[in-house]
């Protein structure tokens, strides 16, 4: 870098005596690489199609919602409702992104190249998890910001109205974070079990969609307690349950929402437990993989 003579010399092999960065920087490098991978950066044009199609859809929906609200004064969906509505799209996004992040590395045998470097064994899965959760949160939260900007610039009550709008937005972003964490951790755990991308994608979709009928069966059993706990059986309805309890009318029309009775805190606790449990399993999985 220091020479500017414009002549290329073959200077042979150069030893490196500069700084070697610590654990934080290495974790950051893995995290950013994961985030780039999810959105197809640094990969073929083909790998960019699906992620950006999804990005396009969520942005367009948000823009339409914002436009309808500013033109007709009608709130089509709240910030939190946006996250709920988009969840089906996010399943497919996870089914493509999670195998891309971990199954590919399992299959190609690249993991020995990571674990022979000064990288803590837990940092690899945690960095990948954080990139996936960030990507999902951006997908669900970013469009909410579009809706917020649309509202903020057309609102009539002035600064006070913008402030109220912001108070509506923040729970929406937190709720998007819950969706991102639950989707991300389950998706990554399933994908980390197999090196075959198709199997991983199928497994992820199955976990989210196949559990819904169980909810349906439990919800019609002749016991009110079981009915009210039924929504714990599927990750999607479980997140809805937490939303019903925590957000109330930000998410559902007055009196709407899931009939979870007084079990709201249990739903929130289960969600935390689910995420924590999946993280533990993920770490255990990579402790085993690293020694191979």
């Amino acid at each position: 870098m220091s020479e500017s003579t414009g002549v290329i010399h073959d200077i042979g092999y150069q030893r490196y005596s500069g700084p070697r960065l610590g654990r934080g920087a290495v974790f950051g490098a893995l995290y950013l690489h994961g985030l780039r991978t999810v959105f197809g950066f640094g990969r073929s044009a083909k790998a960019k199609i699906f992620p950006w199609l999804v990005v396009g859809i969520v942005i367009v929906v948000a823009a339409v919602v914002a436009a309808v609200r500013s033109q007709l004064g009608q709130v089509v969906m709240t910030y939190a409702q946006f996250a709920d509505t988009m969840s089906w799209l996010i399943i497919f996004f996870v089914a493509v992104a999670a195998p891309e992040l971990v199954s590919r590395d399992l299959r190609s045998g690249v993991l020995p190249l990571y674990f022979s470097r000064p990288l803590a064994r837990s940092d690899y899965p945690l960095a990948k998890l954080l990139s996936l959760v960030t990507a999902l949160w951006l997908l669900l939260g970013g469009p909410q910001l579009v809706m917020f900007l649309g509202a903020a610039f057309t609102i009539e009550e002035g600064p006070r109205g913008v402030w109220n709008e912001l108070l509506d937005l923040l729970p929406g972003l937190l709720y998007a974070g819950l969706w991102a964490a639950v989707f991300g951790v389950i998706g990554l755990l399933v994908a980390a079990l197999t090196g075959k991308r198709a199997f991983a994608a199928g497994g992820i979709v199955a976990v989210f969609l196949m559990t819904t009928p169980i909810v349906g069966i439990l919800a019609i059993l002749p016991s009110q307690t079981i009915n009210e706990l039924a929504f714990l059986a599927s990750p999607m309805t479980m997140v809805n349950g937490v939303g019903t309890w925590a957000l109330g009318d930000l998410l559902f029309e007055r009196g709407g929402g899931l009939p979870i009775g007084g079990f709201g805190p249990l739903y929130a606790f289960t969600a935390v437990l689910l995420v924590a449990g999946c993280v533990v399993l993920l770490l255990a999985r990579y402790r085993k993989v690293a020694t191979r």
């Binding site: 042979g12 893995l30 990969r43 020995p112 022979s116 020694t291």
Partner: protein, 304 residues
């Protein structure tokens, strides 16, 4: 300081398979060949050196560090090239090697520069911007070597680097390893099941079999004073043998060849003189190195 030192290193896998048995060996810097048949324990030893597997018993030091208690310090100074396919097909070589450089702790711009340099040193130029999936086996092996070099290690651990290569590719890879060991100032441990291959480039040879040490020595110590000259004449072989014996040269007959121990350069002159005096048609006169394999062959029975 020894490059690698082990003391009664033993590794027994769950299920009772013993991969390494009481292995004590000390090697100095340079190019070290680790030879042994498949299943001799070479890969297990490498994984222990990297701190990926804990030994069942015994001590191990790599560059003076203990890979069991200081795995990160060891791995920061060691580059590893695995035996098997290890490259994600849809990344370009430049992208992959840069990324792995950053995982080794290089700052972003340094990682990019050193990745280009490492790929250039292994002979990959414009190809590095193409996805690895389309590479030939030889090119993939070079990328694997480049990623082991990117963070400027003090020691390279190469597990069967010539695997899957054609003869020309093997020679090129061995020449490259030799260059890294001599010109780059990086010590290299080369694993191979082909003794004939590594003995060409190594300073030191370590042979293991069934997890036990067969022999570890500098290669010049193994081959010194064993060089012999092979002389072939199309007729008069008896006369020449008698004449050489009269010159007090230790000579021995081997089929149509006469084998003469090479004492110094005068031996050549004496043989040529003898051939000229007898006026015999000389077919060939060449120096023959004792194959290292023969040295092992004579030792092996004591261990079997």
């Amino acid at each position: 300081m020894a490059l690698i030192a082990t003391e009664s290193l033993t590794k027994t896998y769950r299920g009772g398979v013993t991969a390494l048995a009481d292995l004590t060996v000390v090697v100095e810097t340079g190019i070290v060949g680790l030879v042994g048949a498949n299943g001799a324990g070479k890969s297990t030893l490498i994984k222990i050196l990297l701190g990926l597997l804990p030994p069942t018993k015994g001590q191990v030091r790599v560059l003076g560090l203990d890979p069991i208690t200081q795995p990160d310090q060891v791995r920061a100074r060691v580059g590893y090239m695995p035996e098997h396919e290890a490259l994600p097909p849809d990344l370009t070589a430049a992208e992959l090697v840069t990324h792995l450089g950053r995982v080794s702790g290089l700052p972003r711009t340094v990682a990019r520069e050193r990745a280009s340099e490492a790929l250039r040193h292994v002979g990959l130029y414009e190809e590095r911007y193409r996805p690895v999936g389309g590479y030939s086996t030889g090119m993939k092996q070079r990328v694997k070597l480049a990623q082991a070099l990117v963070h400027d290690p003090d020691l390279l651990l190469l597990d069967e680097p010539t695997n899957g290569l054609d003869p020309a590719g093997r020679d090129a890879m061995l020449a490259l390893i030799h260059r890294i060991g001599t010109e780059f100032g990086i010590s290299v441990l080369v694993c191979s099941h082909l003794l004939g291959e590594v003995e060409r480039i190594c300073d030191t040879l370590v042979a293991i079999d069934g997890g036990r040490l067969l022999r570890a020595d500098r290669i010049d110590a193994m081959t010194s004073a064993t060089d012999i000259l092979a002389v072939e004449v199309s007729e008069g072989i008896e006369e020449l043998a008698a004449r050489l014996a009269a010159l007090r040269l230790p000579v021995r007959r081997d089929g149509r060849l006469l084998l003469v121990e090479l004492a110094d350069d005068d031996t050549y002159d004496q043989i040529l003189g003898a051939v000229a005096e007898l006026d015999l048609p000389l077919h060939r006169l060449d120096q023959r190195r004792h194959r290292v394999a023969e040295l092992f062959a004579t030792r092996e029975p004591s261990h079997v």
